[in-house]
């Protein structure tokens, strides 16, 4: 999906809980989300922290599409609250 859109010259940030999957098939810009059931946030947190997690992820996506890459690249959301680190796929 992302690759075909990038083929049209439009950079795409793929937000996913399992970065290995899009990276393995050659998506250029991949952003690590939280979990499959809640990629862009974390319902286990308070509303405020949950929203902060989402901001981090979306900000990372904006960074991704503004970054030159030459191969599939993983962008890790910076400063994620410690309690959201449960979702590492690697």
């Amino acid at each position: 999906m992302a690759k075909e859109i990038e083929r049209f010259g439009i950079p795409v940030a793929v937000l996913t809980a399992i970065p290995m999957i899009p990276l393995s098939v050659g998506a250029s810009r991949v952003v690590r989300g939280i979990r499959v059931e809640h990629v862009c946030g974390d319902p286990r947190l308070s509303h405020e922290l949950d929203r902060a997690v989402t901001r981090n992820i979306v900000a990372t996506a904006l960074r991704a599409v503004q970054t030159e890459v030459d191969s599939p690249t993983l962008f890790e959301p910076a400063n994620a609250p410690a309690s959201s680190e449960s979702a590492h796929a690697s």
């Binding site: 950079p11 399992i18 290995m20 999957i21 979990r35 319902p43 599409v65």
Partner: protein, 349 residues
């Protein structure tokens, strides 16, 4: 070497009968003897048998990989099998990764391992060099034939005989080349191949080039604050009631829905029909976990995003064949270009 084969088998929660996506977070457990399709494997093994079955939820195995693998190591130590057999995982990506992790854990212990899955499964794409994988299609109805091939392959692995090439033995190529003695020189063989090509006859190249469809990355945008962004999701997000009857898996269509003027997505108005993961959080709490509209609007207000395309694109990314996904993405990309969209955020579930 003809003593009965002792096998440990790996299954995900679905094939082990624990449940569907609601059980995808199920932690590792070990069951005595064969479970579910393991019984088919057990009978395909003839005198051999499945001593134990290790089961993990599909989310658990990728999210808690270390714990999952540790459980497998303990089971391997306890049952000391001749071979580990994982799957088949068909085209299920998380399951395929789980099978790959388990096979690698066994191999580290000196125990041969084999899995079976679709050649495009992430497990193969990611770890092909480390794995012996028999190819399958996508249909679970292939289970009996896959199991008998796995059983035969496992016997071969445990026999200690040298494993032949991928082509001879029927596993997916790992990407290694091995020097062999050939009775005919390279020039002679190349000449034969050239003749076959010219005469339109079949031939098998000695240099197999992997058919990765690599797309050069699009150039970055300069300034997100001056860019029109589009939102795309494969999370099966649709207006509540699913007016277009989007499906929960193997989708062949995408739909676009207006978000003009919307600042958030409520469970009253939106739902996910995705059948490949548990949608409880999306459908009872907040659909924006697959389309982070509130934060997008906030960033738009703060000038971090220029403007948001007034429609978002939605499909269900669950068992969609690559060719279908490509076709949909091409159509979406065409529309985005027409709308002068500069960048896209794609939430993939």
């Amino acid at each position: 070497m003809s003593s009965p084969l002792r096998v440990v088998h790996y299954l995900n929660q679905f094939f082990a009968g624990l449940g569907g996506e609601d059980q995808a977070n199920a932690p590792a457990q070990v069951k005595e003897g064969p479970v579910g399709p393991g019984r088919v494997l057990d009978s395909a093994l003839g005198k051999g048998s499945v001593l134990a079955t290790v089961v993990c939820g599909d989310n658990y195995v990728v999210e808690e990989k270390d714990h999952a693998v540790e459980a497998m190591r303990r089971a391997l130590d306890r049952y000391a099998p001749d071979v580990l057999i994982a799957g088949p995982a068909f085209d299920a990506g998380r399951y395929g990764l789980g099978c790959a992790y388990m096979c690698m854990a066994a191999q580290e212990r000196g125990i041969p391992a084999v899995s079976a899955m679709h050649p495009e499964n992430t497990g193969v794409l990611t770890f092909r060099r480390n794995l012996l994988v028999l190819p399958t299609g996508t249909a679970v109805s292939e289970m009996p034939s896959a199991m008998s091939r796995l059983a035969a392959f496992a016997r071969k692995l445990s026999s200690g005989d040298k494993l032949g090439s991928a082509m001879e033995e029927g596993y997916l190529p790992r990407g290694f080349r091995e020097p062999v003695m050939h009775s005919r020189t390279g020039a002679e063989r190349a000449f034969d191949m050239m003749m076959a090509r010219v005469l339109d006859r079949e031939f098998i190249s000695e240099v197999q080039i992997p058919q990765y469809d690599m797309v050069p990355p699009a150039p970055p945008i300069r300034d997100s604050g001056r860019t029109k962004f589009a939102l795309v999701t494969t999370g099966g997000l649709v207006p509540r009631g699913n007016p277009d009857r989007q499906v929960g898996g193997r989708a062949t269509s995408f739909f676009k829905y207006s978000i003009g003027g919307l600042t958030e997505l409520t469970t009253d108005d939106w739902e996910s029909v995705h059948a490949g993961f548990s949608t409880a959080h999306l459908n009872s709490k907040d659909p924006s976990y697959v389309l982070p509209l509130p934060v997008i609007r906030e960033f738009e207000d703060r000038g971090l995003i220029g403007v948001v395309h007034p429609h978002f694109y939605s499909t269900t990314g669950n068992g969609t064949p690559v060719t279908v996904a490509k076709r949909m993405a091409k159509e979406i990309a065409g529309e985005l270009r027409e709308a002068e969209v500069g960048a896209a955020l794609l939430v993939a579930t």
